[in-house]
Symmetry: C2
């Protein structure tokens, strides 16, 4: 297996990306290699400075970088030799089995939808995040920012996608899927949540357990998968990030609080497309990059994409 890493992606690239890739070597399976996409000279310099063997990696030289501020779709067309575009070409061609980048989220989404394309039957791909739970477990929250105006049938599919992801990645046998809402009663919520509840209720496609409120986001008491639109999901995720920073600034710590650190989560998978794509946080440190790469290998090995294809057949 070969995992592609955008060496030029992220606020501290290429240093953080390459250092993270070096760290990842110790965590990957024996048969897994990493392909680094980016400026070969700079990558080599960093590898040597870090005392790492250049032979431990496949390096694909690219001469361009899509910057954070650029219009994603335009940049994707105008910079065909950028690390992200070349990475997606390799992914499409099957030369790598997953692609991870802490670079432009927009460009990663353009590549996901335009090059890799959504799985037939999936209305809208989604991005998900793992949420650490107080009990030491982990639940899945989706969508966290891709689809900010979700129709009820899209939310329904996210229930199925989240369920497959939780089973494949977290080993939860029959994941409990809940709809994020402002009350537990079926009649609660905005128009979309009410309609989504109606079509989720009684479904046999996943284990729907009803509504869940956001105060249960981190306790995994009633749900392993929490479904919401990308506007709400993104707001909740960012609130959690804000809390984490704030609590840390107060000098407070605990294992659970540390688990909230985005560095531990290892990126946000794009789900519902024909290959494995993981997007990292722009501020990714080497440790965050390392976990993103490990996450990518895990998703590719678990055959999550094939499971989606099977479910949406």
């Amino acid at each position: 297996m070969n995992i592609g890493v955008d060496a030029m992606g992220g606020d501290f690239a290429p240093e953080a990306a390459v250092k993270g890739a070096i760290q990842a070597l110790g965590y990957l399976g024996e048969g897994t290699r990493i392909t680094l996409f980016g400026d070969q000279n700079r990558i080599t310099e960093i590898l040597l400075a870090e005392g790492s063997s250049v032979d431990s990696f496949d390096i694909v030289h690219t001469s361009e970088v899509i910057e954070m501020g650029e219009h994603p779709a335009q940049a994707f067309t105008r910079k065909p030799d950028s690390s992200i575009v070349v990475g997606f070409k390799h992914l499409k061609a099957g030369l790598i089995q997953g692609l991870a980048s802490a670079g432009s989220t927009g460009a990663m989404m353009v590549g996901s939808s335009m090059v890799i394309k959504q799985i037939e039957g999936v209305i809208r791909p989604t991005i998900a995040t793992q949420i650490p739970a107080e009990n030491g477990g982990c639940s899945v929250l989706l969508d966290v920012g891709l689809n900010v105006d979700c129709k009820p049938d899209v939310l329904f599919q996210y229930g199925l996608i989240g369920s497959i992801y939780a089973r494949g990645m977290l080993g939860i046998e029959n994941p409990r899927v809940a709809l994020l809402n402002i009350g537990e009663e079926p009649e609660k919520g905005n128009l979309v949540a009410k309609a989504a509840y109606e079509i989720m209720e009684g479904t046999k496609e996943f284990n729907f357990v009803g509504n869940v409120e956001a105060n249960h986001l981190f306790d995994q008491k009633t749900a392993d998968v929490i479904v919401c639109d990308g506007f709400v999901g993104n707001a909740m995720l960012k609130e959690a990030e804000g809390f984490y920073s704030l609590i840390k600034r107060q000098g407070v710590s605990s294992p659970f609080i540390e688990a909230l650190n985005y560095e531990e989560i290892g990126g946000t998978p794009v789900l519902g497309i024909n290959s494995t794509v993981i997007i990292g946080h722009g501020h990714s440190s080497p440790k965050a990059i390392r976990n993103m790469i490990v996450h990518t290998e895990h998703a590719a090995q678990a055959g999550i994409v094939e499971k989606f294809k099977e479910a949406f057949k």
Copy 2:
């Protein structure tokens, strides 16, 4: 001034409500009295057991209680001698200048809209909450659960309502009003947020400062008032509640974390109606009731309702 308190409202009523009212006496202005609505015998018993003088309060006997599980509008009609209904009649008649209850939120909303009615020009009343900030200050978040499907012009009005509230209650001279969004750029967001941004941009009715992301909810760096629809606002508020409980369970504390305790916030005001109504948390302790009563007096004294009427003339 006379502040009405629903002695039968809340999970621990009437004990917690009456004890909270006794505690509040020490915090209210000299000219302020409290009217307790509820079962006179039980109220008197608690007052005596607490060593409080019955003469310190006005008591209006009511024989019914609207329970949490009841259909609010039906209960409002079927229980004319309930503490909430009688409280609203007194408020409407001007016998009390504010009404506070930790009882049925639904019934409090029915009373607010049917008895007190919205101010002319206000499209939809709202409920707001004060959010403690890391710097020791306080910002305002609205809507936190009343209007879960908001049109852009409703969000615009919430900017004005929040601005008036922040000035009158928090003493912020020219409150910075931001729209909650999933990015800072003007083009970000769902359809409603984008449209709301367009009509807020350049307004002279309040000091609009653009979009704010949820990771800034507790730092008050860029905004004193944060506007969003009631679905998102409720989710963010409940996430904060969940965090507070969780962090406490981890044995962690700090002055900021304590400020997040709902007991300190003192209830949720209903804004945009013709009188002062504050709704407390169902789980309200005596301390939470005390702060809710103090909050009600503060809002009535600050003439917030008159300021809204002036602004929407």
